[in-house]
């Protein structure tokens, strides 16, 4: 590597410039882009899971004052008088399905206890159980949307 003696040593030589850009930067980019592509590949675009919006039958299917557990959707449908609400049965702690107790709900996995309003009474659960929006569809069926979270005091009144 004989450079001409007049060449300034502090300048970046053509060779080290290409080493930096074409060599190191391109290699880093190639590795990073491949890794990013692989990770993105692993993120599913379509989920074959039960729909988060579902019809829960006719309002009269649920007797007054009842709390009905719906297995497939893992929710409780709560009717008091002419009001309807839908409570998630998935514990906010670690995702177990909670059981209905005499007053409130119990999680069997780590012992969280929730009251009738889904609020935490004791145990490690960080938040109360989620309430979901309930509306009435055009054909007079209860329509639950698990994408829409609502406050515990929001009712569907018929």
């Amino acid at each position: 590597m004989n450079h001409s003696p007049s060449e300034n040593k502090s300048e970046v030589s053509r060779r080290s410039f290409f080493q930096l850009t074409l060599g190191w930067l391109a290699s880093t980019f190639a590795v990073a882009a491949s890794a990013a592509g692989a990770v993105r590949f692993l993120v599913p675009n379509v989920l074959y899971e039960p729909s988060l919006r579902f019809k829960a039958g006719k309002p009269d299917d649920y007797p007054d004052g009842s709390v009905t557990f719906m297995e497939a959707e893992r929710v409780f449908l709560v009717r008091q008088g002419n009001t309807f609400r839908c409570l998630s049965a998935i514990c906010t702690h670690l995702g177990c399905t909670v059981n209905r107790a005499d007053h409130g709900y119990h999680c069997p996995c780590h012992g969280s206890v929730f009251d009738d309003q889904g609020a935490v009474k004791s145990g490690p659960a960080p938040r109360g159980l989620e309430w979901f929006q309930v509306t009435l569809s055009k054909d007079n069926r209860l329509l639950v949307d698990k994408n829409q979270r609502v406050a515990a005091d929001k009712y569907l009144i018929l």
């Binding site: 599913p44 670690l94 209905r100 069997p108 996995c109 960080p126």
Partner: protein
Amino acid sequence: MPLPKRIWQWFTRTRVGRSIFRIGLPESNLERSQVMVSSFLLHVQPAKVNRHSLRASYSLGLGLILLYLFLILIVTGVLLMFYYVPSTEKAYDIMKDLQYVVSAGLVIRNMHRWAAHLMVLFVLLHMCRVFYTGAYKRPREFNWVIGVGLFLLTLGLSFTGYLLPWDQLAFWAITVGTNIAGYAPVIGPKLKYLLLGGNVVGQEALTRFYALHVIVLPTAALFMVAIHLWRVRKDGGLSRPDEPGDIVQQIELKQLPTNKTYGLMELARGTTPQVGKNPEDEVFAWPHLVFRELLLFLLVMAVVLFLAIFWNAPLEELANPIHPPNPAKAPWYFLGLQELVSYSAFWGGVVVPGLLVTALMLLPYMDRQRKGVGRWFARERAVANTIFSVCLVIAIALTVIGTLFRGPNWGWVVPWKQPPAITEGH
């Protein structure tokens, strides 16, 4: 001379035999060295070993036991793969087939299960041995870090394998486990989504756990085991106390003059077993080491077979997302973690284990004391040993509490009293 040996000797003297084995059964010290160096399987080990390294009371053979358990897991795991299908519709039925229909299916699945449990146990014991003998100190710091990595891989392998039977035990242990991952700051929810391939434990999660369990994690573990063993050799064999006449001072590669060429032998590090050691301390690996290794393998096989024949691996009812068993428990080695998680998912599930793993990884770099290497419970290491023991006792206590003293709704029970039957509240 017994007949098998005569046949063997005749075979290794034929042209074909010699082309395969080069050295037959060694007759002289020269051949004892050559047989170790010329064989692919044996060359991983040195031709001569220090007497101290052969002492069972020092190493307890724990690393070797782990290697054998890993091999048993690979062989039984591959056999199970010939039947298993990672499908939520088929997996459970296939487990039943393995239990009742397939010849030896029950024993092979049991062996896989018990070897996996034993592997977690022996990783912990191995870690304790290395700690209490101060074997993680210079120059073995990085091998300790690789060991911590292998510990995590063992847990990962065990955890991913746990889902595959697709029974209640599997489904709820994985639901709880992946939700703990979801508590990790920033990346938690994304990590959980990526791991499950969705929001709930379903077909996608089973497919992913299967891929991780049968190819990704075993390959990673195999690779790291190879590095772990290679480094044991490069760092001078098993740790042992300094003896008079040892070259304690290490020759750093950078200290050598750079203006000459070197043979490979000259570049070897100063702590290899042969350098500066009394020849009396060394014995030939063939037969002293090889014989002990074979004996230990027989012992490990015998224990695993014994467990597999007399105790069946659990298989509960088909996975049911509606009804968690009460109490829903993770595998026993995660029950200390589950006990912590029952107080706080973030602190117990993320912070405490995160700090523990970080502390374990950094340990050899924080502990700079050079004394007390190669002896059990060295007096010079009283402080370090005490700290480690306290952590160990806490971890064991939490695990025992989670395993034996927690009943329905994760409430307190005493193991000698049967908990009352739980009626479903739905």
